[in-house]
């Protein structure tokens, strides 16, 4: 099963505080990464943000991006992961 769109899901989980969305969005803008969709909720006191981003023509290697997101997550005290959308399509769509 192959994915035709080059998009990824960024998930941010952790304690709510000022500047989480700003921090992540600034980083993405720095590398020309377009945000397609954002949803954010507080579930059981847990800040939960899910972002869909486009990976086409971006100015960073995908593996480096994952590292950069991790380190900004450490600064903000939240857990940030990026996963290619193909994973979710494979698992949840027939």
């Amino acid at each position: 099963m192959k994915d035709d769109k080059n998009t990824a899901v960024i998930t941010v989980l952790g304690q709510d505080r000022v500047g989480i969305i700003a921090g992540v969005a600034n980083l993405l803008a720095e590398y020309d990464i377009n945000i397609i969709n954002i949803s954010q909720t507080i579930m059981d006191d847990l800040f939960t943000m899910i972002m869909l981003v486009e990976l086409r023509d971006i100015k960073i290697e995908e593996s480096d991006l994952s590292e950069r997101l991790k380190s900004i997550g450490d600064e903000l005290g939240v857990k940030i992961t990026i996963q290619h959308t193909g994973l979710f399509n494979a698992m949840h769509r027939i």
């Binding site: 899901v9 996963q83 193909g86």
Partner: protein, 452 residues
Amino acid sequence: MINENEILETMEMFSNQHLDIRTITMGISLMDCADGDINRSCEKIYDKICRYAGRLVEVGEEISRKYNIPIIHKRISVTPISIVAAACGSDDYTPFAKTLDRAAKACGVNFIGGFSALVHKGYTKADKTLIESIPEALATTEFVCSSVNLASTRTGINMDAVRDMGRIIKATADRTQDTGALGCAKLVVFANAPEDNPFMAGAFLGPGEPECVINVGISGPGVVKHALEKVKGADLGIVAETIKKAAFKITRVGELVANEASDRLGVPFGIIDLSLAPTPAVGDSVARLLEEFGLEECGTWGTTAALAMLNDAVKKGGIMASSSVGGLSGAFIPVSEDEGMIAAAMSGGLKLEKLEAMTCVCSVGLDMIAVPGATTAETISGIIADEMALGTFNNKTTAVRIIPVPGKGVGETVEFGGLLGTAPIMEVNNKSCADFINRGGRIPAPIHSFKN
């Protein structure tokens, strides 16, 4: 767009429920590496493996980063060495094992399988040489795994080989006694061995397989257990449905990784093996999953029924998810590698006889069982013979990976570390079967094998 719950469910599976890609195994045919000169043959083997698998580990890591999913092992399986080595005329195949070991090290993989022979109907001279070389080969290498197919439904059981393997397992235990008979953890005997299995120690690339192929093994007992926790008390039809759905999702991850690895390496994708393969980590246990069905402890009455249903539902979910399901695909029940099995064996509730019954309905067999060092070669052959009969007469794969630990007795444990875990020494019925084993010959194929 995928909805939030699906995304969070996926993340939960990987972070808290131990879902992982257990192995990307590259199968490499060594058919063209046969040579009259043993050194020349070993050279060809080393070069070919390094040429094909040089990027395997790197690509595995790239995929792992792209999807942020753990890919635990990258491994290699090769053509059974007895076939490749036959031309060289040597009476010791240890140099081939050492070559495989060097190649594994150079490629950065943590196991290489295929120091193997297929003798279900009889021995060639090379098969005999390979089997006699096993103790030395496993004692002098680090990454090499060995397997021997002793029986098949179509041919019956080669009882000469069953007798010999009892002796070889004992010899391997003695040669590796400094490490708790670790050599035996890398040696497995089969009935109806699959030719495309990516899991060690039994992986080899069968003679019917292509030049080079990517097979992927995926695991996740924790995911299935978690799914069952949500249907506590529900009837078994609902339980079966729940397992199938979880198996479907897990298999899809395997297929995604397999396709991606195949693309990046330019090697065809073979099969996905969805096996619930436990690790010693808490939360990654098949025994605990069986207990979730409503059993006080794995091994009590009802365990075989629960395992039968689990194994079947896993296969059904997997087959719906991918047309390339192969290998073993089902539930593994190794003792030393499963925290719940270890606990049940230590409490005395899980005995060897019950495990044997469970192997009638699981996907493999008596796996990672430690027994007293004083167990005779004939008794080990007897255990193997029973297990081969279950596989041969029930038309399924069965296997034995048994470890007679020198100097240890019932109640003691042996520590292998890592994924191989800790094995409690289990009690063995020691009434002699020597006269039966020493008869030799072949147990004919069962009547229902004649389907032509």
